[in-house]
């Protein structure tokens, strides 16, 4: 695989997301695969942020430390980014924003100064169009031909009028020409032979899209980074997709509204992050007791408490698995990438409705905000299974909401859809749904509910494997480390090791087959973005097995393949 990395750094509000987005579109259009991630501070203006794009001749799913092109919209990018530059890497900077110290740093043959804003203004364009100058400058290092970039600008800005699009194109050309002038002709990154159609999108688009594909009808939420993207997505498309998305006064209201809607028969969800999730857990217990389906997206960020609101971590796993007080059926899913995010949302709703229980989907900032090119989603693969429901006629006048059944699943009637009435309760209840006090009914009702959990466990989503079949070592992870593990496995295997990657799209309950995998010979390493090894703990709790080693990160930054390899330091095969 050949890759090429572009990092654009600047202050919030300087438009680096805009530069990034232009490039993402154009790069994809030109035929590459790409993975792009973002790093930003919890503020609206200022600070130091970056947007990093990795393009490749094969599908990619993680990022690299080393950079080929550094685009500096601010001084900090120059100061902080230099060390990441690959030998021969190029810096494109705006000389107008650098102080004397930084100017010294860029006094090198591979560094090219382009006063982005000035170039735009000299061409009679507003300052904001400087973004297109930067995009054009980068483009000169990617392609000999600016056509695709021009097309992209037309597509992106055409709706704002011809003049805007033309202005962007003009300044992009200026940036393009200027870099060709300064940097001369250089070899360009390799392209895939036949990339075919790809979707370019991020986790926070794939998740809500997956929900819409799965027939979402109702959402209620309270904004919280990094889940807000999901909420705003459904807000934007709700009206046309026949979905009610109602902003709540707080997360408690959000989940309870969604539970009310779900009880009434609407596929419902909410989305939040750690603190908001905590506020929702009481209602998860209600959903467990009253057997009301509900899907909650918890997009993780580094805790505890407010922590680092715009960074990434996988520190809520233990808490999501414990979920709430008391014992009740539940599942926790953990999509590893954008594609899986789309399809797992459908699975989440099916699980929630088939077992009439809460399902948590663990996302995180890295998955939420990263853009990637993926094969087009196949809607025909999205099956909508609403579980055991009954029509009003089938239910009859004496419908029992919590009828004892062999599998513990009681047929669901929506209130108002039949002659019978639907009585649901968070208090302990009898088959009808009325409150009880006696030990016998309590025990039977607990057993009825928990029978469902056995089924959920039996059909838990299987681990997704890659690499060697009979490995000497295994790298095991969940959620957004999937791509990093996959790449580390590939590199190790290319280096002659026999390593297998194990990604867990479902972390609770864990699939039985994971236990079997873990019992095979070979070293086991658990890779996760948290301090205490929460996945490790869940695995030990279930299978009473401890891994050989642990690879953890908890500084708020995403794990990539290099991070894993560095931590392994050869210990994975051969060596120690």
């Amino acid at each position: 695989m050949q890759t090429f990395n572009i990092k654009i750094g600047g202050e919030a509000g300087q438009g680096l997301v805009s530069v990034g987005n232009i490039l993402l579109q154009a790069i994809t259009q030109e035929g590459w695969h790409l993975f792009a991630h973002q790093d930003y501070e919890s503020r609206i203006r200022g600070g130091h942020n970056f947007f990093q794009i990795r393009l490749a001749d094969e599908p990619v799913a993680t990022w690299e430390h080393e950079i080929d092109v550094l685009v500096a919209l601010d001084e900090a990018t120059v100061t902080l980014g230099q060390g990441e530059l690959r030998p021969g890497g190029i810096v494109i900077y705006d000389p107008d924003v650098l102080g004397d110290e930084a100017k010294k740093l860029v006094d090198q043959p591979n560094c090219f100064g382009l006063p982005f804003a000035k170039i735009a203004q000299d061409l009679g364009q507003p300052k904001i169009v400087a973004n297109a100058v930067a995009a054009g400058a980068v483009w000169a290092l990617l392609s000999e031909d600016i056509t695709v970039l021009h097309q992209t600008l037309e597509a992106m800005f055409g709706s704002k009028g011809e003049k805007v699009a033309a202005g962007n194109q003009k300044v992009a050309s200026a940036g393009f020409d200027r870099v060709r002038e300064l940097a001369g002709s250089r070899p360009k990154p390799a392209k895939p032979e036949n990339p075919g159609a790809r979707l370019l999108l991020q986790g926070n688009q794939a998740l809500p899209l997956g929900a819409l594909a799965a027939g979402l009808k109702f959402m209620s939420a309270y904004p919280m980074t990094p889940a807000t993207g999901v909420t705003e997505y459904i807000s934007e498309h709700g009206q046309e997709a026949s979905v009610v998305m109602e902003q709540a006064e707080d997360e408690i209201s959000a989940i309870n509204m969604a539970i009310g809607a779900s009880f009434a028969g609407a596929r419902s969800m909410t989305a939040t992050s750690g603190g908001g999730f905590a506020l929702m857990t009481e209602a998860l217990s209600l959903a467990g007791s009253a057997e009301i389906p509900i899907v909650v997206i918890n997009a993780m960020r580094p805790g505890p408490s407010t922590g680092l609101p715009t960074r990434t971590e996988q520190g809520d796993l233990r808490y999501a698995a414990a979920m709430s007080f008391g014992d009740f059926p539940r599942a926790v899913l953990s999509p590893g990438d954008v594609e899986e995010a789309f399809y797992l949302m459908g699975q989440a709703f099916n699980l929630a409705e088939e077992y009439q229980m809460p399902v948590v989907v663990l996302s995180d900032q890295h998955l939420a905000d990263s853009h990637v090119t993926v094969p087009p989603f196949d809607l025909s693969k999205v099956e909508i299974r609403r579980g055991k429901t009954v029509s009003g006629t089938e239910a009859g006048p004496d419908y029992l909401r919590y009828k004892y059944t062999e599998d513990g699943i009681s047929p669901r009637l929506y209130p108002g859809w039949g002659e019978g009435v639907v009585i649901s309760a968070g208090d302990e209840h009898d088959e009808e749904g009325h409150l009880i006090e006696d030990a016998e009914t309590r025990q039977k009702m607990m057993e009825k509910r928990m029978a469902k959990q056995k089924l959920v466990e039996a059909r838990a989503l299987e681990p997704v494997l890659c690499g060697a079949d009979e490995p000497d070592a295994m790298l095991i992870g969940f959620g957004s480390t999937k791509g990093a593990i996959r790449e580390a496995v590939r590199i190790l295997n290319e280096g002659g090791c026999k390593v297998q990657g194990v990604h867990l799209p479902q972390v609770f309950p864990l699939p039985e087959s994971l236990g079997e995998l873990l019992q095979r010979p070979g070293r086991k390493f658990i890779v996760e973005s948290n301090y205490t090894g929460q996945l490790e703990e869940l695995i030990a709790a279930r299978f009473a097995l401890k891994p050989t080693g642990s690879i953890r990160r908890y500084d708020g930054r995403p794990i990539n393949a290099q991070y894993i390899l560095d931590k392994l330091r050869g210990g994975v095969c051969g060596g120690q």
Binding site: A197, L199, L212, E249, M257, A264, E419, A425, G426
Partner: protein
């Protein structure tokens, strides 16, 4: 079918309430109101909180969602948005609604969803054995306030009026006709309707008894010249609490409901709408390149 209509909302004999509890008056009035309007049990949804009041739906026929302490209003809001064909009640105590659920109270009023909110206002936490609620009189001695309640009692009517609720009423568990009439008016009101119901708790509230109320309550609806569309007058009147205590509809006004805001989308109950796969396919396509 008169016979069946009369028994549609018959009550369960066996309740977990104390003999003499004001809740009996409320449930009878509710049953009377529903039968009077000719509703069917399966068209009605009671969303209940946790507390003595929250047990009510288990003693009358209809769909029931027994939720959490304090969470009736968002849950009822979600259910109503999902199926506008249901007549949705939120039912809970004063602790449920004004303590634990205070924030939802503020914002449910603002959302103006077409539901009826019945607050059994016994001015104590009944189920947990008589602690002070936001409605307890200043000075009332309870298990958590041995020195007497320090805070001024919360005024739910004035608060709802301040938030421009469309239907703000008070009634009394001891006056079945008044309560039943008020419930019917609330059901018929398009939008959020609050009825704060004075409910004697014979076990824990020795201040606000039947006797206390019976000599004090008077019906606003019968006050000459009382204009229930005048917000400021309604607000001021809601503070009257002494020798005379007004009951009736304090304030009524019509505002667009939340469903109106959703326009076409909620013209038909959401739960009865088909899933539009084509729209999703189009969205997916919008990300396609190459």
């Amino acid at each position: 079918m008169v016979a069946s209509k009369q028994t549609e909302f018959t009550l369960t004999k066996d309740t977990a309430w104390c003999p003499g509890c004001g809740n009996f008056g409320i449930i009878r009035a509710l049953s009377q109101a529903l039968e009077g309007l000719g509703l069917k049990a399966n068209e009605v949804l009671y969303v209940s909180g946790i507390g003595q009041a929250g047990k009510l739906p288990h003693y009358i026929k209809g769909n029931v969602l027994n939720t959490l302490h304090g969470r009736t209003l968002p849950t009822a809001t979600g259910a109503k948005l999902a199926n506008g064909d249901l007549h949705v009640f939120a039912i809970g105590g004063d602790g449920d609604g004004y303590a634990e659920g205070g924030n939802h109270f503020l914002h449910a009023v603002r959302k103006n969803v077409n539901i009826t909110y019945l607050v059994h206002d016994n001015q104590v936490f009944g189920l947990t054995k008589g602690q002070a609620s936001p409605r307890s009189d200043q000075g009332m001695v309870t298990g958590t306030t041995p020195q007497g309640v320090a805070l001024e009692a919360f005024n739910p009517l004035a608060t709802a009026i301040t938030l421009n609720a469309g239907f703000v009423a008070r009634s009394y568990a001891g006056d079945r006709e008044h309560l039943s009439r008020t419930i019917q008016a609330a059901i018929q009101h398009e939008g959020f309707a609050l009825i704060d119901i004075l409910q004697p708790c014979v076990t824990f509230n020795k201040i606000n008894t039947y006797q206390f109320y019976s000599s004090r309550v008077y019906d606003l609806d019968q006050e000459e010249g009382y204009d229930r569309t005048d917000r400021q007058v309604a607000w001021a009147r809601s503070f009257e609490w002494g020798e005379r205590i007004p009951i009736g509809i304090f304030y009524q006004t019509l505002r667009p409901t939340l469903a109106d805001h959703y326009g076409e989308l909620l013209k038909k109950p959401l739960v009865k709408q088909e899933h539009d796969k084509n729209y999703v396919a189009g969205l997916i396509d919008s990300y396609k390149i190459g």
